[in-house]
Amino acid sequence: MAQNIAVKVDDLTVAYNYKPVLWDIDLEIPEGVLMAIVGPNGAGKSTLIKAILGILPPIAGSVTIYGKPYKKQRSLVAYVPQKGSVDWDFPTTALDVVMMGTYGSLGWIKRPRQKEKKAALEALEKVGMLAFKSRQISQLSGGQQQRIFLARALVQNASIYFMDEPFQGVDATTEIAIINILKELRKAGKTVIVVHHDLQTVPEYFDWVTFLNVKKIATGPVKDIFNDDNLTKTYGINYKVSIQE
C-alpha cells in the first residue's frame, strides 16, 4: 500500500495541568481513509484533534500535513467541532453559519459575495438542509445542527476532515445521512478522521481505526486491528464484541 501520508504526528504530548492528557503520540494517517479514533472517556480523543489543529498548544511534538507544517497547510484541513461547544441560541441563521466555512479562504476583512453564498447553498443541499437555510439556528433539532456544522466544513472544500463526535445526540436518519456523506468524501479521495464512541458501528462505518488512551494503543486497518485484544488494552476491561461475523 504505497499511499501518501496525509497527516503525520510526531511525539505529540499535551497536558492541561501536571498529568499528560496525551503522551508521546506518533501517528501516520494515510490519504483517503475514513478513520475512527476510539477510546474511553478522558482518553484524549478530542484533545488529539484539537492539538493537531493548533487549538490547544502541545508541550512537545509536531504535526505535518502532506509533509509540511500544519500552519502552512490550513487550507487543506476542515474541522467539525462538537455540537455542544457553541451556543445555539446565537442570533444567526443556518446559512450564515455555513458561510463561515468560506471565511478562511477569504481572509481578513474581505466580505463573502455571491460565489461564497452559492458554495454555502450547495453545501446545505448536500446535507439535506437547503429548506432550512433561513432558520434561526436555535430552532433546529440536534441532528439538523450537526448537519449544519458538517455543511460548514464541506464548504471549505478541504482534503482532510477532522470531526469531533459527529454522531453524538443525533437520530438514526441523521446518522445514516452523515455517514453517507463521509463515505462520499472518502470516495472522492479525501481523508476523514472521526472521534467515535459507538464501537458497534466501527467495522461498518470505518476502514481505519486508532485506539487511544492517553497513549496510542494501535492504529491501522479495521479488518486487521479491530479486535478484542486491542479493545481490552484500550478500555482496560475484558472486551468481547462480536464484530468479525
Partner: protein, 373 residues
C-alpha cells in the same frame, strides 16, 4: 421645567443640547459593544472593568493634581485595561473560573480606588472636591469637547466593527473554529475587549463606576428579545441605548435634583422589562399565550380524534352518541365540546352528539397528519 419644556429647549439651549447629545452617543456606543459582551457571555466583564477604572482616576489626580477630565479618563483607561488583562490572565493561568476572577478584580480595584479617594479627600487641597462624582457620574459636567471625544470614539468603533464584522461574528459564535481557519483570535479578542473598555471609560463621567455596566448590558439584553439577527441586534441595541440616554436626560432635567446616570439606567431597564414581556417571539406574554393556545388546540384535536374513533365504527358517521361516552376520555371538558360545536365539527341534540361531515373529514386528516410525522 417639565418634559415638554425640555423638548422645546433641547435644540436651542446649549447646555441641554450638549448633555443630551453626550448621553445619546454614549448610549449608542454602549449598546453596540454591549451586544458583543452579552453574546460572549461576558456580561460581568463590563462591571469589573468599570470598577477597575476607579483607582486610575484617583492616581491620575494624585500625579497631575489637576481635575482635567481627559487626564482622569486616561488614568481610568489604563487601570481598566490592567484590570481586564489581569482577569484574562487569572482565568487562563489558574484554575479559577471567570466569575471568581471578575469578582476578585472588581472588589480589589474598587476597594483600592475608594481608599485612594478618601486619602485624596483628607488632603489639604481645595482642588480635591468632586472626584467622587465618578462613582455615580454627573452628566451636567459634560462639555462640548467631551461630546466630541465620545463621537470620535463611537465613529472609530463603528468603523472597526464594520471592517471586522465577519471576524467578530465568527469569534463570538465559535472561537475554536475561527482559530482553525487561520485567524489570530487573540487579536480579534483584544480588539473587541479594548473597545468595550474604551466605551466604559467614556461613560464614567456621565453614568459613573457603579452603574456603568448596566449601560452596556441593558440595551443589548432588550435588543436580543426582538431579533434573531446579529446585525439587527447591534443596531437595535444602539438605538435603545441612545433613546435611554435622551429620555434619561429629559426626565432628570425636568425633575430637579434627579441625578442623570441612575435615571438613564432606569430608563434602559424599562426597555429591558418591556422587551422581556412583550417581545413577540421570546417575550413572556406571547410565550404563555402560545402555550395556552397550543394546549387548547391539542385538547380539541384529541377530543375530535376520540369522537372520530367512535364514529368510525358506524356506517353512518353522524350516528348520535351519548355525551357520557366522552367522560371516559381524559382531558374532555364541556368547553372543548362547545368549541367543537362552534366550529361546526359536532352537532348536539339533547344528551347526544354526532360528528358532522366536516368534523369527520377534519378528524381523519388530523389522524393522517399525526401518523405521518
Amino acid at each position: 421645567m417639565n418634559l415638554n419644556e425640555y423638548f422645546s429647549l433641547v435644540f436651542s439651549d446649549y447646555t441641554l443640547r450638549t448633555i443630551t447629545l453626550g448621553t445619546a452617543i454614549l448610549g449608542a456606543v454602549c449598546g453596540m459593544l454591549g451586544s458583543f459582551a452579552v453574546l460572549r457571555k461576558q456580561s460581568l466583564l463590563g462591571d469589573a472593568i468599570s470598577h477597575a477604572a476607579l483607582p486610575g482616576i484617583a492616581i491620575a489626580f494624585l500625579i497631575t493634581g489637576a481635575k482635567d477630565t481627559n487626564t482622569l479618563l486616561l488614568g481610568a483607561l489604563v487601570s481598566g485595561l490592567i484590570g481586564t488583562f489581569w482577569i484574562k490572565g487569572i482565568t487562563s493561568k489558574t484554575h479559577l473560573k471567570s466569575d471568581t476572577a471578575l469578582g476578585l478584580i472588581l472588589s480589589l480595584f474598587f476597594g483600592f480606588g475608594m481608599l485612594l479617594l478618601t486619602f485624596i479627600q483628607k488632603q489639604p487641597n481645595a482642588n480635591q472636591a468632586g472626584l467622587d462624582k465618578y462613582l455615580f457620574g454627573q452628566a451636567a459636567t459634560l462639555v462640548e469637547s467631551d461630546v466630541w471625544l465620545m463621537a470620535s470614539v463611537t465613529g472609530l468603533c463603528l468603523f472597526v466593527i464594520l471592517l471586522f464584522w465577519k471576524e467578530f461574528k465568527m469569534l463570538l459564535f465559535d472561537p475554536d473554529y475561527t482559530k482553525t481557519l487561520g485567524f489570530n483570535t487573540r487579536i480579534i479578542d483584544i480588539l473587541i475587549t479594548s473597545f468595550i473598555v474604551l466605551a466604559i471609560v467614556l461613560g464614567l463621567q456621565t453614568v459613573g463606576v457603579v452603574l456603568m455596566s448596566a449601560m452596556l448590558l441593558a440595551p443589548a439584553a432588550a435588543a436580543r428579545q426582538w431579533t434573531n439577527s446579529l446585525s439587527t441586534m447591534v443596531i437595535l441595541a444602539s438605538i435603545i441605548g441612545a433613546l435611554s440616554g435622551v429620555f434619561g436626560t429629559a426626565i432628570s432635567a425636568s425633575q430637579n435634583n434627579l441625578s442623570t446616570g441612575p435615571v438613564i439606567v432606569l430608563v434602559a431597564s424599562v426597555f429591558v422589562l418591556f422587551s422581556f414581556i412583550f417581545s413577540p417571539s421570546r417575550g413572556l406574554l406571547f410565550r404563555q399565550w402560545r402555550f395556552i393556545k397550543n394546549r387548547r388546540d391539542l385538547e380539541q384535536h384529541k377530543t375530535l380524534a376520540f369522537m372520530y374513533h367512535i364514529a368510525k365504527t358506524h356506517d353512518n358517521i353522524s350516528h348520535p352518541h351519548t355525551i357520557k361516552i366522552l367522560n371516559n376520555f381524559q382531558g374532555f371538558t364541556r368547553g372543548t365540546l362547545q368549541k367543537l360545536v362552534k366550529k361546526n365539527y359536532v352537532e348536539l341534540e339533547g344528551n347526544m352528539w354526532s360528528l358532522t361531515d366536516e368534523g369527520f373529514k377534519t378528524a381523519s386528516n388530523l389522524y393522517n397528519q399525526q401518523s405521518n410525522e
